[in-house]
């Protein structure tokens, strides 16, 4: 058996005369969709797989499909004779264009065998001379395949060799996606051994030393691993020391490393070539000269073995010395390597003689985090999910590491300036957009938003399209739209007769997620609102005098400008009086709240829909009852219908009572229940007692404007506590209340399956009449309504929750507006997705 090794991501070009058995080979050795056969494409474009006049069209189509597959990173096999250099060239070019390796597998059977096989196939009516000509072409081609650009060439020179061959797919060296970390990525060290040791210590590594006291390894007690982002060498005081430590860590499995341009150049010097002795190479070579030849050989092997970039953590993390644009992730070609080592250079030099680099990170829209170094910057900054960790230690800056996945930066200062920079450190990358400028392709079309709590969340094009109109026409200025609250799921349908929703199901949902302590909060009969109170309009690009904004759950202004101003004044006064902002060390705060009464926002809906239905029902049903009673009086048997109609008449009045409670003309009040964010942080991990204590202080400061949220702590392992909460819910809803919201007391909770739902609403029996219709309590209706599919609602609630948190995180990280807006927009897009409105 011959083992044919091919890179797992490659373009495999089969080469062989007609009748050499390419299709059979492909069918046996590759997956069903991996092979693109010229015969099949001829058939697709002409209905006849042997129609030679269709060859050009067939190859066009084939190359088109091959390109799509390669763009998607799929191994692709070309089943065509490919005996002519021009035919092969087009595939080599295609492979290069997608930065995958071209592989040739030659099926070299004797011409006689091929002729004989063709003769057995009536559809192949071309003569033996055609096969012989192809065979000659193939023979002439063989020795040029390498020169043509094929990186692997396998020649199978007999029928048996072909049958016996086994394809072995070798993962690319860059593919280390099964390495999940956690990692500590370390920027350019440049021979700064002391700082490296300090940094490793700071990161929690224990440095191991040889008998001479030299650091030879470092290991983290939690099994974390370091990633050296290249440029370990040159310029600094102890290049061999750094190499000894880094190589030791890599050897021991305590670190990974990618090469930098300086390793590349050092390697050339060690290989006996003579690169220019500039940029600190001379220092490295001098220092290495004092080491043993064995050590130098070890360094040489180490540098040679480094792979341009690494794909880690299931593709969520990419490391490369100079960064890597998304299209190059996991690809292999000269330009991929050049990018990884040198960055996106224009080939020009600046006034300091340094190459001009293009700001690839500003255009980066990939979901994978890219950590890199290469370009010294004063501090680590995130730009579109990428971070440069080179903080110029050797130039007297800092040596920095990024904890992944925590995204925490750890830096130690340089002990001194070890090497004078050619030019001053560059300022941090400018915010790539003018404040307030958004691009349509930031939000339109299908896209992905990466969140720290829920991974990648996809937004469908049609949902984005639906959200655009709402966002563009009605939402407040995106600069002030920092968050939208997630939709909230009800509990599973209750098993208690007569009830659709009951607290028991909410409690058991949390219990099953391992949450032991929940808080039940009164659900106000109002509208959800987000309140942003800000002292400094500049922070949000707002005009002088601007005090904040209050918007609805779809981003519309809640009040008219005049009312908003008045309400915000009250909010500010209460914030000042309570000293909350000072305590949060912030000039602004974002609050999650309910504003009552509901009729403030939903007056139209109450009148147009609810009251309207009530008017029709309470007019028609009593009349129907009267008509049926007359008929019954005449002795007509209408008892069942009469009975039902009487119940429905009663339901219609109960329904009217239910909506009337929401139509009160009470004064506007805000019931805050959660602090979402302030200048430097978000509060999703503060427990709800903390949040409600803040709310209580606002109520205390202005009991007219703020309304308190009644609550009960519930210990789910304590039956009395649960019974007490249920009794409370019954009491609230019997008095006409909407219901309660049950939340994990700890607030944000992660369980095995991901985030636990932040809240479950349990609505009252009477309230649900205005959701399910007046007659929903009828046995025949309830039986059918019980069938509620919660899965989608829950999943949406979880995604919206994560997007909302992500938006807040981006706000406090002071990310560019478009990044915040993208997350907020995605919530609105989720909301435009059809979902059962009763849930």
């Amino acid at each position: 058996m011959t083992r044919l090794g091919i890179p797992a991501m490659s373009l495999v070009v089969l080469v062989g005369v007609s009748g050499s058995g390419k299709s059979t080979f492909a069918a046996h050795k590759f997956g069903p969709h991996e092979t693109l056969s010229s015969d099949a494409f001829r058939a697709l474009v002409s209905n006849d797989q042997n129609d030679q006049s269709a060859t050009e069209a067939a190859f066009d189509a084939l190359r088109y499909v091959a390109a799509k597959r390669l763009a998607a990173g799929l191994l692709t096999v070309i089943d065509a004779t490919n005996v002519q250099p021009a035919a092969r060239k087009s595939f080599v070019d295609l492979a290069k264009a997608h930065d995958v390796l071209p592989v040739a597998i030659v099926l070299d059977v004797p011409a006689a065998v091929a002729v004989e096989r063709n003769a057995e196939r009536p559809d192949r009516d071309f003569g033996a001379h055609v096969v012989r000509r192809q065979h000659d072409q193939l023979r002439r081609s063989l020795r040029f395949l390498g020169k043509e650009g094929f990186r692997r060439i396998h020649v199978l020179d007999s029928v048996d060799a072909i049958a016996d061959a086994e394809i072995v797919r070798e993962p690319l060296l860059t593919d280390r996606r099964d390495e999940r970390g956690p990692f500590d990525a370390i920027g350019d060290v440049h021979g700064c051994r002391a700082e490296l040791e300090t940094l490793l210590d700071r990161l929690g590594y224990q440095v191991l030393r040889d008998p001479d006291g030299r650091a030879v390894d470092a290991r983290h007690p939690d099994g974390r691993r370091a990633i050296f982002l290249g440029d370990l060498v040159d310029r600094g005081p102890d290049v061999p020391g750094v190499l000894r430590l880094a190589m030791g860590m890599v050897r021991a499995g305590n670190a990974l490393a990618v090469p930098g341009n300086h390793e590349e150049k050092l390697l050339r010097a060690l290989d006996g070539k003579s690169p220019a002795m500039t940029h600190g190479l001379a220092e490295s070579l001098t220092q290495l000269a004092a080491e043993t030849p064995e050590f130098r050989e070890e360094v040489r092997a180490f540098c040679r073995g480094l792979v341009s970039h690494l794909i880690l953590d299931e593709g969520r993390l990419v490391v490369a010395h100079a960064g890597l644009k998304e299209a190059y992730h996991g690809r292999a070609s000269g330009r991929v390597r050049a990018f990884a080592l040198y960055g996106d250079t224009t080939g020009e030099s600046d006034e300091f003689g340094l190459p001009v680099r293009l700001p690839w990170a500003e255009d980066y829209r990939g979901s994978a985090v890219v950590l890199y170094g290469h370009t010294p910057t004063p501090q680590v900054a995130w730009v579109n999910n990428t971070a440069c960790l080179d903080t110029g230690c050797v130039f007297g800056g800092e040596l920095s590491a990024m904890r992944y996945p925590e995204r925490e930066v750890v830096s130690v200062p340089a002990e001194q300036v070890w090497f004078e920079p050619v030019r001053p450190l560059q300022p941090p990358p400018p915010e790539e957009r003018e404040a307030g400028v958004l691009r349509i392709d930031d939000v339109l079309g299908a896209h992905i938003v990466e969140t720290t709590t829920h991974g990648r969340i996809g937004v469908r094009a049609e949902n984005a399209a639906g959200a655009l109109e709402v966002m563009a026409r009605w939402a407040v200025d995106p600069r002030w739209l920092l968050h939208l609250p997630p939709t909230m799921s009800p509990p599973a349908t209750s098993s208690i007769p007569g009830y659709l929703e009951h607290p028991h199901e909410a409690f058991s949902a949390y219990r099953s997620e391992g949450v032991g302590s929940v808080i039940a909060e009164e659900k106000h009969m109002g509208s959800r609102a987000i309140v942003l109170a800000a002292r400094d309009p500049d922070r949000f690009g707002a005009p002088p005098g601007w005090r904040g904004i209050i918007h609805t759950r779809t981003g519309r202004r809640f009040f008219s400008a005049a009312v908003e101003a008045e309400v915000l004044e009250g909010v500010h006064a209460a914030l000042d009086a309570s000293g909350i902002l000072a305590e949060l060390e912030s000039d602004w705060v974002l609050l999650d709240a309910e504003i009552v009464p509901w009729s403030v926002k939903a007056g139209d809906l109450i009148r147009d829909l609810y009251a309207s239905v009530g008017a029709a029902a309470t007019a028609a049903l009593p009349a129907a009852v009267a008509a049926l009673e007359s008929a019954a009086g005449r002795g007509v048997d209408v008892s069942e219908l009469l009975d039902r109609t009487q119940r429905r008449a009663a339901n219609s009045f109960a329904y009217q009572d239910a909506y009337r409670r929401y139509a009160a003309d009470d004064e506007v009040q805000i019931a805050p229940f959660q602090v979402l964010a302030s200048e430097a942080r978000t509060y999703a991990t503060q427990d709800h007692s903390w949040h409600l204590a803040i709310a209580d202080r606002l109520v205390a400061a202005d009991p007219g404007l703020f309304r308190t949220t009644a609550r009960r702590m519930v210990d789910l392992s304590n039956e009395d506590s649960v019974a007490d909460a249920v009794a409370w819910w019954e009491e609230l809803t019997a008095a006409g209340g909407e219901g309660i919201v049950v939340k994990p007391h700890a607030n944000l909770v992660r369980a095995a399956r991901g985030l636990v739902l932040p809240g479950i609403k349990v609505r009252g029996r009477e309230y649900l009449r205005i959701i399910y219709g007046p007659d929903y309590t009828e046995v025949s209706h309830l039986a059918r309504l019980r069938d509620r599919s919660l899965g989608h609602k829950r999943s949406m609630a979880a995604r919206e929750y994560s997007l909302g948190l992500e938006a807040l995180e981006r706000v406090v990280r002071r990310e560019p507006l478009w990044r915040v807006h993208q997350a907020v927009f995605a919530i609105l897009a989720m909301e435009s997705e059809p979902v059962d409105p009763r849930l």
Partner: protein
């Protein structure tokens, strides 16, 4: 949900024969999403009343595609259909009293052919157009009409009347005519989206309207409304979102101004585009394509792009422009893109001219700078044409109360001075020369109803 038919005469219970329903029994019929019951609350020698009670199952209705049900819409769960005497009652009427409607009676042919003293009561009749329209529809048919509006909520008198009336018709009318009147006019008054219109509705209308519809003074309204709701009732995403809000965003039918102003505006803008020599034009906020249509018809324009935030509006524009049946070269010439002027969009960059016709006043003032940047700073067309209402002129509209806007979605309407300031600022900031014009009659005191500015990019 309740219609009663009373007949007062000797041998009144003969009504049962005409209706083909026995007065002593409750009879129940299955209808599309519920049941129809017929019974007689009274049946004496002098007076007989038949009642049609329709029970609509709200859950079935919400789940029924046929009735335009949409389980994604709250409005379909809380719904007046089970209570109102709506178009669905008319459908039940047509089914249960089909024979009576034809006027055929094997046992009492004379009675069926005769005008009878009838009294018909319809409970909770949804009547768009109110009592007044009810009267206009039934009176010409010989009915004496008594209709009482039902208050929206007896506890909240300030809310006024609901759209339902209790209707009592009396008159000497043939029973089959009476039934056919109801069959046609209940849906016409209901005028609801829920009414499902099948393929043969025109035929049904002709048959049910035979002998009375042709001469009815409201014939056009009746026909238009009866057939108005063909096609599917599709809720778009924005309607769904609006519902979450508890608000309705339905646009009023059109600008309240004489339509000639719109036509003049189009003609003026077109004229300016010719004057500018523009060949590649983008209409920002194209809506349903009012400007795109004349542009498309003229081959002077080699590339036409219409943008709008509303995907639904673009779909209507596409139908209006018949893009699906356009020749390839037209499809390449004309493109419709969903976009918003508050987001930079490379696809609209570099045109000869951009048109913002009655668009800016639909933006919140605080969003205007973003739109200016997108259009003048990013897209940078050689010319930009902007039209917007002239608030000074509003005093010339007697129906417009002082300070009110011409359209409920207008976020502002500028005086000539305000527009002048804005155009000059934008011109200075982005390097455009500004020329001001107007559309419509030029009033010496308050100017033209529409103000217009032409921005020409200054060569750099």
């Amino acid at each position: 949900m309740l219609v009663t038919i009373s007949y007062a005469a000797p041998s009144a219970s003969d009504l049962g024969y005409l209706l083909h329903k026995h007065p002593a029994k409750l009879q129940t019929f299955d209808i599309a999403v519920g049941q129809a019951h017929v019974f007689y609350p009274e049946a004496t020698d002098t007076r007989c009343t038949a009642a049609l009670l329709v029970e609509i199952d709200p859950i079935e209705l919400a789940r029924s595609k046929r009735f335009g049900g949409d389980s994604q819409s709250l409005g379909h769960y809380v719904n007046d259909r089970p209570y109102a005497s709506s178009s669905m009652v008319a459908v039940a009427l047509g089914k249960v009293f089909r024979t009576a409607m034809t006027g055929r009676s094997d046992t009492h042919p004379e009675l069926a052919a005769a005008a009878l003293p009838l009294e018909i009561a319809v409970r909770a009749l949804p009547a768009r157009g109110g009592v007044d329209l009810v009267t206009r529809l039934f009176t010409p048919l010989g009915w004496n009409v008594r209709s009482t509006p039902i208050p929206l909520d007896a506890d909240r008198p300030e809310w006024g009347e609901s759209r339902y009336v209790d209707l009592v018709l009396s008159g000497a009318i043939r029973l089959s005519d009476a039934l056919r009147h109801l069959y046609v006019l209940l849906p016409v008054l209901d005028d609801a989206k829920h009414y499902w219109v099948g393929d043969d509705e025109v035929g049904k209308l002709m048959r049910a309207g035979e002998g009375w519809l042709a001469g009815h003074p409201e014939r056009e309204l009746i026909t238009a409304r009866y057939l108005a709701h063909q096609g599917s009732f599709v809720r778009d995403a924005s309607a769904r979102l609006a519902e979450i809000e508890g608000v309705t965003d339905e646009e009023p039918e059109a600008d309240a101004r004489p339509s000639t102003l719109g036509a003049q505006r189009l003609a003026t803008v077109l004229g300016i585009l010719f004057e500018l020599g523009a060949r590649r034009v983008v209409d920002l906020g194209c809506g349903e394509g009012a400007l795109l249509a004349p542009l498309a018809a003229d081959r002077t324009f080699t590339e036409i792009v219409g943008t709008d935030v509303s995907a639904a509006a673009l779909a209507r524009a596409s139908r209006r422009l018949k893009l699906h049946e356009a020749a390839d070269r037209d499809r390449e010439r004309i493109r419709l893109l969903q976009s918003s002027v508050t987001y930079d969009d490379d696809r609209i960059a570099g045109f000869d001219a951009a048109v913002l016709m009655e668009v800016i006043e639909h933006l919140d003032p605080e969003r205007l700078p973003a739109a200016e940047r997108t259009v003048f700073g990013h897209a940078q067309p050689a010319s930009v044409i902007v039209t917007t209402p002239n608030a000074d002129y509003n005093v010339r509209y007697p129906t417009l109360s002082a300070g009110a806007f011409r359209h409920p979605d207008h976020r502002f309407e500028w005086t000539r001075e305000e527009f002048d300031t804005w155009t000059r600022n934008v011109g200075t900031r982005y390097g455009y020369d500004v020329e001001r014009r107007g559309v419509g009659p030029d009033d010496p005191e308050v100017g033209t109803p529409t103000q217009l500015a032409i921005f020409r990019r200054v060569a750099r």
